[in-house]
């Protein structure tokens, strides 16, 4: 590999980090805005940038929408005093926020977000098109929970500790159902993908149409699997109604009770990055990625841009779903979370798996 190639990769990676971080920042804004609308409030509508907000019509409108709010939030997190309580285990305390953010950023390496046609040949737009795509995502994204556990343990006080314990229990409970819900997806598309776990091939396979009409998105063929995966995703990203580790009604603020300023900001950003990547994975696996039904992407740069836009659009819709659900449902009780995970989702996932084993065997046999 040339040094030019390496440089390009680094630049791509930086661009992608920038894009994901921006989306994360604006998901926070979306969260606040949507929460306000649902509750009959207006949400952040004051932050103004000198100069830009003086534009006629557009300026005040952007201010009303709170477009500059994430900037202000970021600056605030950066410049706040960053105290470290005396009773914490300092090294791990500082390490934990980084560990909770890093895996989310690493998983996006294998997430294909678009397609580029060169001479009729489909090329993936992805940082690393590895064959074990989904395994990589499952393996690395689970590491995110270490950040939370570490935070809970290093904080050396009882509420974070309970939060950390809950996080690990929840992660273990839902990981199983999640993995089992995924298996039929890859078996279903085995004829097209050659049985590989590559995410790009999977999305391309979903671009076909069943009998020429029905788009081959996985969600249409495996709705139950999609539901199980979605629920597990909510649990894995610690989002309401599964936000057990944080659960401010009974645990103060859970694992991040002892954190403040930028370290808290990192946890915050980590949560949203996890949501974005989780949404991206769901779109890739179940919603046909960048495919639109009955429309073939034009070739060249335009097609590539369009595919990225479609992918982003679907991801944003899913992020909206995450936020929407959070402001609708009350939090589960801890024992309900465990019951749901072990006694309902897991058997359901197994049944789903067996069902599709039989169906696929019948179709192929």
């Amino acid at each position: 590999m040339d040094w030019i190639d390496i440089l390009l990769k680094v630049i791509y990676a930086l661009v992608m980090v920038a894009v994901v971080m921006t989306i994360a920042g604006y998901s926070v804004l979306a969260e606040r805005k949507i929460a306000s609308w649902i509750q009959g409030r207006v949400g952040p509508n004051r932050t103004a940038l000198p100069g830009l907000s003086a534009l006629p019509v557009i300026g005040p409108m952007l201010v009303k929408l709170g477009i500059w709010q994430p900037l202000a939030d970021g600056v605030k997190f950066l410049f706040k005093e960053d105290p470290i309580p005396g009773h914490v285990k300092k090294f791990y305390y500082v390490l934990a926020p980084m560990i909770s953010l890093a895996p989310a950023l690493i998983t996006m390496v294998v997430l294909p977000f678009g397609v580029y046609y060169v001479d009729g040949q489909a090329m993936p737009l992805v940082l690393a098109n590895v064959d074990i795509g989904i395994l990589f995502i499952l393996a690395v994204s689970s590491l995110g929970v270490y950040g939370i556990i570490l935070a809970g343990w290093a904080s050396n006080s009882k509420y974070p500790f309970l939060g950390g314990i809950r996080a690990s229990a929840q992660m273990i409970s839902y990981e199983l159902a999640m993995g089992l819900a995924l298996l039929p997806v890859f078996m279903w598309f085995a004829p097209e993908t050659g049985g590989s776990l590559n995410l790009f091939n999977l999305v391309q396979a979903q671009g076909n149409h069943m009998w020429g009409v029905l788009p081959a998105w996985t969600i249409f063929y495996q709705p139950l699997g999609a539901l199980i995966f979605l629920v597990s995703l909510f649990a894995e990203t610690n989002r309401a109604p599964f936000d057990m580790p944080e659960s401010e009604t009974d645990l103060v603020a859970g694992f991040n009770t002892e954190y403040g300023a930028f370290k808290f900001g990192l946890f915050f950003l980590g949560e949203y990055t996890h949501i974005i990547i989780g949404s991206g994975v769901f779109v890739t696996l179940f919603l046909g990625g960048w495919n639109l039904p009955w429309i073939t992407m034009p070739a060249g740069i335009l097609g590539a841009a369009l595919s990225i836009l479609v992918f982003l659009g679907k991801t944003c819709a899913l992020i909206f779903l995450f936020i929407w659900v959070r402001w609708t449902l009350p939090r589960f009780r801890y024992d309900q979370v465990m019951t749901l995970g072990w006694k309902k989702l897991l058997p359901l996932a197994v049944a789903n798996f067996v069902l599709y084993l039989i169906i696929i065997a019948l179709i192929e046999g």
Binding site: R41, W327, T328
Partner: protein, 180 residues
């Protein structure tokens, strides 16, 4: 006492899956998103203050511009947290309302002490001190939070007076009937 046992039907599998309730809830919140907001944009929009509200205590003048307070110091006496300090003074010889005899030379209400109880308004024989609709006050120093006489009259303004007690007193005196 007869006890009524309420029949509770066991939930069906569909209901126990949480899904119908989740979908129902999502529908409601989605509709709420498009309803008008109830927020009052505070510094620009102010809530309407109902009459009888106990805001910042102020001093008022009667419609003729005479200051109503006669410096009897009842309010100073009654004020539970001792927020009021009055320095009584004489009304100058050449004044129209000389016959009132006394008026406050200095009148201070310490808003860091005031508890908005309204006793001063209630006790005042001249209806000179009123708790009106000012509810938000702030300052950078303790001194700023002590309202002096001038400030109190600025805040208070003029209130209608149905009696004109002192005007009638003067008239009666002129007509030779000082006891009215």
């Amino acid at each position: 006492m007869a006890t009524k046992v309420v029949e509770r039907k066991p939930l069906s599998i569909w209901e126990r899956s949480y899904l119908p309730q989740v979908v129902g809830g999502l529908k409601i919140t989605f509709k709420n998103m498009f309803k008008p907001t109830v927020t009052l944009e505070y510094p620009e929009e102010r809530p309407e203050i109902p009459p009888g509200y106990r805001g910042v205590p102020t001093l008022v003048r009667d419609p003729n511009g005479r200051e109503k307070c006669v410096s009897c110091q009842l309010c100073e006496f009654v004020c539970p947290p001792k927020a009021i300090r009055i320095t009584p003074g004489e009304i100058p010889e050449e004044s129209e309302s000389r016959h009132v005899e006394k008026g406050p030379k200095e009148f201070e209400i310490n808003m860091l002490r005031c508890i908005y109880c309204g006793f001063c308004q209630e006790v005042c024989p001249e209806e000179a001190i009123w708790l009106q609709d000012i509810y938000s006050l702030s300052g950078y120093s303790r001194e700023e939070m002590v309202n002096n006489k001038q400030k109190l009259y600025e805040l208070g303004g003029t209130l209608p007076d149905p009696y004109y007690k002192w005007d009638r007193k003067k008239q009666a005196e002129l007509e030779g009937n000082p006891h009215h």
